[in-house]
Symmetry: C2
Subunit: 325 residues, 2 copies
């Protein structure tokens, strides 16, 4: 690895991804980290543009995240939504009073034709985040979940129906017309890039919508730097969210092996939990290196520790050495 | 007066007008009262459509009004605006967390091409208001105040600049293209209409934008039922707001006589305060009847009492008897 290569791209969805991104932001200089975030969960609620994964990353990296809910802000109040419900608003999606400031500001600026990425950048600066968080694209991509109850917009599946419907397939509406954000392209092409980390987010709901942007997945599989993932599946379960349930519904083995296999066209290595250490050999057969460690981030220190180990692992690899091709 | 005539139209601006409208709603059957409200104060803030006078009437008639501020809701919280300011929002206009539910709901429905009047009606029903509150028009009318500091949008003059600039003239942008709301037209033409009350609102900022809707003022001057106003000027002062200051700047005598004169083409009578009883003869010379009473509405009972006296006065008159023509 050349000493000039020190920048890291993190691909992130919501909670789990944001925790590792937070850890990365603690151990890397701000200029050396780019957090690329899913926008497939974005939707309009009460006429407001809501970007759940961007907000989760923004709140997590700035320390405003609510650790109990996994979404929204800590110390939130709910006066707006209580009155809105009295006025007839749909009651399945809660918007906190403080959280609302983000949605109103973003919606207002989008209407003025500012880009989602510029708005995100400005909001991040305002809340004191120094590294760059960027939506994977400024174009609209919307995750549609086909279930035994029909097609559901992502938030309808995820929040309104609480992931109860059985998933048969997932699509990313608008992805085909979307353009990878130029800053992501530029970082991927930079000779300062050391590697890419796929955060422990849901591969099907949070990372696939990133990979669905035309050219991005093939760019990753051809890139000259290593790419490592951190498995969100530990001991046959998802740390959080519906990944395990969905995998079973999609007839996939609920295992870190399945995650490794899902990304095998571009992964140089994968970080799996101590619990899954017996899976190492099977994963290595897929053509990638394996790092076994404690992947459950129980504290800010745990996030930084996993980030450090993941970056060290990344730096120890080269793209050509380990990648399956 | 025929016994079939029992309906009353009230023309209202903000605080003072809403207080009398509230009193009227206490003494008249809901089906017999139509409150026609100014929309010249409406504006967009942070991308949200705010209708201050509609909201003041809605909050006042439903009992949610904040009696201390004269705007917004009682028991309000301010978490949204605090965060919004941290994120860079303009800080001169405060939106409370509960109040925001109205603005977000209204803005969302306007974007879906619902009319302001339908939205207002639905919101009123939700907060338990039984009489009809209707914007004078569903078309955009915006009050522009020309001052010694240049042209100012109404809320910039009223809230941001706290009415400090000296007013030289007032215009109502969009009024020429606006259509009187059909329900106002229908009530004016109804043979059940007993009369019209001009509430004690600022004649220049709150009532003139109603009268600026094409055809409305001439309709009032030709209508076959009496019209009475309640003077917002008492003892040479405005009960609330910048009316007196503006009148002085416009070289008008700050007096109930000036108010009567301003409306003399359509008024059959005017209600003035006991303090102004010496002005009765001068006003009568303008060709209208005068009712002298306590017009300061210090309590809910005071509102109902003034409403009762105004309606009794209205019912005692006929259009042709007293109107100057």
């Amino acid at each position: 690895m050349s000493t000039g290569r020190k920048k890291v791209i993190a691909l992130s969805g919501g909670v789990g991804g944001a925790k590792l991104a937070h850890g990365l932001s603690k151990i890397l200089p701000a200029d050396d980290l780019l957090v690329v975030v899913n926008v497939g969960d974005d939707f309009e609620h009460m006429g407001l543009h809501v970007s759940p994964d961007i907000d989760t990353n923004m709140y997590t990296l700035s320390g405003f995240a609510n650790p109990e809910t996994g979404w929204g802000r800590v110390g939130e109040s709910w006066n707006f939504i209580e009155v809105a419900k009295e006025l007839g608003a749909e009651d399945w999606f809660s918007l906190g009073d403080k959280d609302l400031a983000i949605h109103v500001t973003r919606t207002h600026r989008l209407k003025q034709n500012h880009t989602l990425s510029d708005i995100t950048n400005d909001l991040c600066r305002k809340v004191g985040i120094e590294c760059r968080i960027v939506p994977v694209t400024d174009d609209p991509v919307r995750t549609i979940v086909t279930t035994d109850q029909g097609e559901l917009a992502f938030q309808h599946y995820f929040v309104r129906e609480r992931c109860n419907p059985a998933v048969t397939s997932i699509a990313f509406k608008g992805a085909e017309q979307a353009r990878l954000h130029p800053i992501v392209e530029a970082w991927c092409e930079s000779d300062e890039l050391a590697g890419i980390i796929v955060c422990p987010s849901n591969p099907y709901l949070s990372v696939d919508p990133l990979l669905a942007i035309p050219g991005f997945r093939s760019m990753l599989s051809e890139i000259s730097v290593p790419i490592v993932a951190v498995s969100p599946i530990v001991g046959g379960k998802a740390i959080k969210g519906p990944a395990a349930k969905m995998m079973a519904e999609l007839d996939l083995e609920v295992s870190a092996v399945t995650v490794a296999d899902h990304y095998k066209d571009f992964l140089s290595g994968i970080v799996i939990d101590n619990l899954d250490s017996p899976l190492s050999q099977e994963i290595e057969k897929l053509g990638m290196a394996v790092k076994v460690t404690d992947t459950i981030m129980k504290s800010d220190e745990g996030r930084a520790q996993l980030a450090k180990q993941t970056v060290d692992f990344l730096m120890s690899l080269s793209a050509s050495d380990a990648r399956n091709s």
